[in-house]
Symmetry: C2
Subunit: 205 residues, 2 copies
């Protein structure tokens, strides 16, 4: 488990600094333990998490304004830091991004806890969107920078909009990793997706 | 609401034929009503559904071997029949498939009930997979037939495997429709995805 990186601010803003990282971690671990034991994201209360962590409710509320903000950090604690694209070949950077998604998909398959937390978060629309805006947004920005660079360098056509480009590369990996969890995520998949989307699937003359 | 098409067999196999379509529909509607009122897929019992439908438990069990099979038909009842590809241009057939997915995504956004049922099913791994194998499999087979035809006609390169091809076309639409529900699903998106995947995103010489 990684404790949330304090350089990535939680939104809504945390209150009551300075925080003790050990207490933060104890609270997050308590929530994870309860989820692992079968508690549902919807059913968990701050009170129950505080009791499990052996702290008072006020201690939790000094760190997180509410359960949703705490749950975001719980999910974030299960995430690996995403890699920095090397910035040399756009093709290789796209592979790096997709390979990270592939590994994340594999991790989710191998961890009942991660799967439970992610699918339960998905069932809570507001939480899912907050997760996207806080955790995924940084990755998306990094992907957009790669795509923009590709357009500037001529590796990517200029007439396809960035939003669609991002979906063309990530959609095939995401749908396998997140929606069709019984499909394989073999090594080399990231490369195959990137190269095929770049080249297109109709024959080139 | 559409009552499940009896030409599409439920798996596990239904028992106790002949069935009365009116009773089937009443049971499915009862389950939908309970879900709409906030019952969770996990919390619903056959007993409660039977009571709501005004029938005995045995009447439900004569039709469905258990709750999972019933839930599959509940979800199926919310689905529109998928279109038959016209079989003329492979490009147009791909657009038909993706346009159906786009409309399904829009329907899910406009129906809290559909969203609730789909995301809750997704949180139940076994149910989700059964849904895929029973409801989605037919659509996937139809897409594969289109792709195979495209390879035979030369509209699609022969060196990309069918599984990857299917993901390249459907992944971008699925990830928007199912995972990023706040992104737009504008008219023309199906055409843009199909044409861009066919052509590729690197410049053609």
């Amino acid at each position: 488990m990684t404790v949330p990186d304090s350089s990535v601010p939680s939104v809504p803003k945390l209150r009551g600094r300075p925080r003790s990282p050990a207490t933060d971690a104890a609270i997050i671990e308590a929530a994870l333990r309860l989820l692992e034991e079968g508690a549902s994201v919807g059913g968990l209360s701050i009170e129950r998490i505080a009791r499990e962590a052996g702290v008072g409710k006020a201690t939790v509320y000094r760190r997180w304004p509410g359960k949703d903000a705490l749950m975001l950090d719980v999910l974030r604690s299960l995430e690996e830091p995403s890699p920095e694209p090397a910035g040399v070949s756009v093709r290789d950077d796209l592979v790096t991004v997709l390979e990270f998604m592939r590994r994340r998909g594999l991790a989710k398959r191998h961890s009942a806890l991660l799967r439970t937390v992610v699918t339960q978060m998905h069932a809570h629309q507001e939480l899912w969107r907050a997760y996207d805006e806080n955790v995924i947004a940084a990755r998306r920005a990094s992907l957009r920078a790669v795509l923009r660079r590709g357009r500037e360098s001529g590796e990517i056509r200029a007439d396809v909009d960035l939003e669609l480009l991002a979906d063309l590369f990530t959609g095939p990996m995401l749908s396998r990793a997140m929606l069709h969890e019984w499909k394989e995520l073999p090594e080399g998949l990231a490369e195959r997706i990137v190269d095929t989307v770049l080249a297109g699937v109709s024959p080139r003359d």
